[in-house]
Amino acid sequence: MCPDIACGRLPDDALSRNFADAHPGLTAEQAALEADRCFYCYDAPCIEACPTDIDIPRFIKAIASRNIAGAARTILQSNILGGSCARVCPTEILCEQKCVHTAIETHKAVRIGALQRYATDWQMAQEAHPFTRATASGRRVAIIGAGPAGLACAHRLARHGHDVTIFDRHDKMGGLNEYGVAAYKLADDFARKEIDFLLAIGGISFQGGAILSDTLTLAALRQDFDAVFLAIGLGGVRALGLEHETIAGVQDAVAFIEHLRSHPLAESAVGRRVVVIGGGNTAIDAAVQARRLGAEEVTLVYRRGEATMTATPVEREWAQTNGVTIRLWAAPLRLETEDSGLRGVTFRRTDPDGLPAGTPETFTLEADMVLKAIGQVFLPDPIAQDQILIENGRIVVDAQGRTSLNNVYAGGDCTAGDDLTVAAVRDGREAAEAIHADFSNAGIRVN
């Protein structure tokens, strides 16, 4: 039996519709109405809930007064990737969850994310970049990883007058924004447009196809540059640890999404029946995109309950609205094959700890494709020889992103903390400020 995995399950126009902007931006009138709802809190809890500390009441007040340039500057001053954060942030567990309107009526938060998108979209439609570069300092910084942390760090360093070279294994910058987030969240090539906007500050160059390796070592970079910022993300994915895991049809969700994001939709293959294993946002993004590519049945299976899913309730509802079936309290037991092809997955019921239940109750889901989304892990190999301190599988940094090595800083998913775009932006920004301060205060520290 041959698994039914195919491209072009839907006509091109249906694919375009399915991967268009899931939540189109506000019109000027909608933005003004929504902005007027904001109480302009003095002790605004939304700010505390934002990892990048955007002065939310201030930018919303500016939208209300039609000072959109001021609104955009307030956002971008704190978060240069405010445009993509407005699209991908789980605002329902960040700023909007804390909006005081929710204390008056549940689910009636001011739509902070939508307003942030309105202001940043306006800014990106302008010719001029809102920030200017300081006089060139002559300092050079290498950044490994062109994702949100690396980009935020690069922009802040460039503003301070330092020259930045970004290295990334991909041909394009953007990291997860370009390769990892569901296409309909960052539609219309937004990730690239945002990078064009960001690079307009000047002083940032890019080397694609570059990975830390024997030919590009951290030690050499530390020699060639005044500082190095590691934003290398999570290079590995967890395996199921089951037999037949490498057969056709069993794939990492991350790879599935990356292929979809970097190829025409009509060239993205998907099974007729898809099983996604995992409970995070990657699992949701993979499941929904599989449906939108034309999969007939998509089942997302998570070994515990809703309370411990890292996908937010909003994300879960989004998946369900898109026709994804969510099954809880079941862990994969066996990949079923037939004639050396995938036939399905057998799951075993789990107990309240997510472990196999005492009774060996099982069920089998027929599947042409299994997408694994059970977590990504930090791969220390590229820097294994550099004696950099690693704990609990992440690079250890201080509050400003300094690693245990002089002149080496790190941030984003490769360090501890929430694996959120907005947290990565904060890490990059803070590390840039630390690098700048270290340059300014103590001169360049030497090994």
Partner: protein, 422 residues
């Protein structure tokens, strides 16, 4: 159900809600629709002499505030721009078909007795219930020595009122302009001239805003603007004060007052009645939402009166007037203190920052992760009410009057060493 029937200077109407003299009462078509919608009366848009005036294109400017339209409205429209005979014929037909409604005709002709003498019989002949003298229009007509140009000179007010009283049997209502320093001067002059009633306020001279692209006041007419007359919800406080001033003035005692200026709902109506009005006029609210808004005005006023056991409008009219006093008659021993209901506090901090930056530093603030706590420092609180006004949550901050054991006004206050009487 409360009885809303109104007897205003002998003019009867089924309820106190009349449409003010303005665009909504310009012609038969509108007035019929108004009466069908339930309005108790209308004051027909001001008639003048032929040839009629000419109105401009672009007539209104509006004040928007934080997303709410028409907080204030200004207009540069003049009086009726239709031939007198057309208006007269229409008034006659409407009055014949709606005999139970009040139909008042607003008038404005130059300050010469023979001109008033000439127009009054034409109005009388329509069967209209009364006339309202437009001494208020603050734009366009005032430059032609009519409207507020008359209303601002008490001698003229008295003179023209007297001419009208001498030349018609109809009740004469004098409409007052607020564009004066002391509303009592023209009001008393109207009474001396024999006015049966006064109505107020007419619109306030205003520039509603500036078009920052055209660099001209709004509304922009072919690149330029002019001042207009301001009305709508924003002018209500000005109207209430002027009505109260007249209602409590001994020289004006007993004169019927037709109150207007920003009445948007039954609650406004009740306030205008309480401050001394006997009947009411409305315009902007109808221009914003249509004639149907009178339904809730009637219904809401009646329901509220039932809860307060006011059986008729005279039971309500003027109820607050005896408690509208000069500042120097307020009790200086009275003290009220802010109280924050911690359970309903949403933690926005607006009370704190308002008090801290602009008042008396009387709201203490403790913050921490997920914890915002505001408390009133009673020794510092002067009872100004600002915190209660800025709080976005209903009844979260209340002002609690403290027990008072005695009364002392400024007249007796020890700091008033010179025993000033004001």
């Amino acid at each position: 159900m409360a009885d809303l029937r109104t007897n205003f200077a002998g003019i009867l109407s089924p309820n106190p809600f009349w449409l003010a003299s303005a665009p909504p009462t310009d012609k038969e078509y509108n007035v019929r629709r108004a009466f069908e919608a339930g309005w108790g009366g209308v004051v027909w848009k001001t008639l003048g002499e032929d040839p009629p005036v000419v109105n401009l294109s672009s007539r209104y400017g509006a004040l928007e505030f934080e997303g709410r339209r028409l907080m204030g409205l200004n207009n540069i429209e003049l009086i009726s721009d239709r031939p007198l005979a057309t208006n007269i014929a229409e008034i006659k037909r409407v009055k014949r078909d709606f005999p139970d409604r009040a139909l008042i005709v607003s008038l404005m002709v130059p300050c010469e007795e023979h001109r008033w003498k000439a127009i009054l019989p034409l109005i009388e002949e329509t069967g209209a219930d009364g006339i309202e003298l437009n001494f208020g229009c603050p734009h366009g007509m005032s430059e032609r020595n009519m409207g507020s140009a008359v209303g601002q000179v008490p001698e003229y007010v008295e003179m023209v009122t007297r001419w009208c009283k001498q030349n018609t049997r109809m009740p004469v209502i004098v409409k007052l302009t607020p564009n004066v320093t002391n509303i009592l001067m023209p009001a008393r002059a109207a009474r001396r001239g024999g006015a049966d009633a006064v109505s107020l306020i007419n619109t306030i001279q205003s520039v509603i805003g500036v078009d920052l692209d055209a660099m001209a006041p709004m509304p922009v007419v072919g690149g330029k603007g002019t001042h207009g007359g301001y009305c709508g919800p924003a002018v209500k406080p000005i109207a209430l004060r002027m009505i109260g001033e007249i209602a409590r003035d001994p020289e004006m005692a007993g004169i019927p007052i037709s109150g207007m200026g920003g009445i948007s709902n039954w609650r406004d109506a009740a306030e205008f009645m309480a401050m001394g009005s006997h009947a009411l006029q409305v315009c902007t609210a109808a221009m914003h939402y249509g004639f149907r808004i009178v339904e809730d005005m009637i219904d809401g006023l009646s329901n509220w009166m039932d809860t307060k056991d006011y059986a008729t409008l005279p039971d309500l009219s003027g109820r607050a007037v005896s408690r509208f006093v000069p500042w120097n008659q307020l009790n200086m021993n009275f003290r009220t203190l802010a109280h924050i209901d911690q359970k309903s506090c949403v933690g926005c901090g607006l009370c704190h920052i308002a008090c801290e930056d602009t008042s008396h530093q009387a709201i203490a603030r403790q913050t921490g992760p997920d914890r915002r706590h505001y408390s009133v420092i009673e020794d510092e609180c002067v009872g100004c009410n600002l915190c209660a006004h800025v709080c976005p949550v209903d009844d979260c901050i209340t002002m609690v009057p403290q027990p008072v054991d005695s009364e002392m006004t400024w007249l007796e206050h020890p700091s008033n060493t010179h025993r000033l009487t004001a």
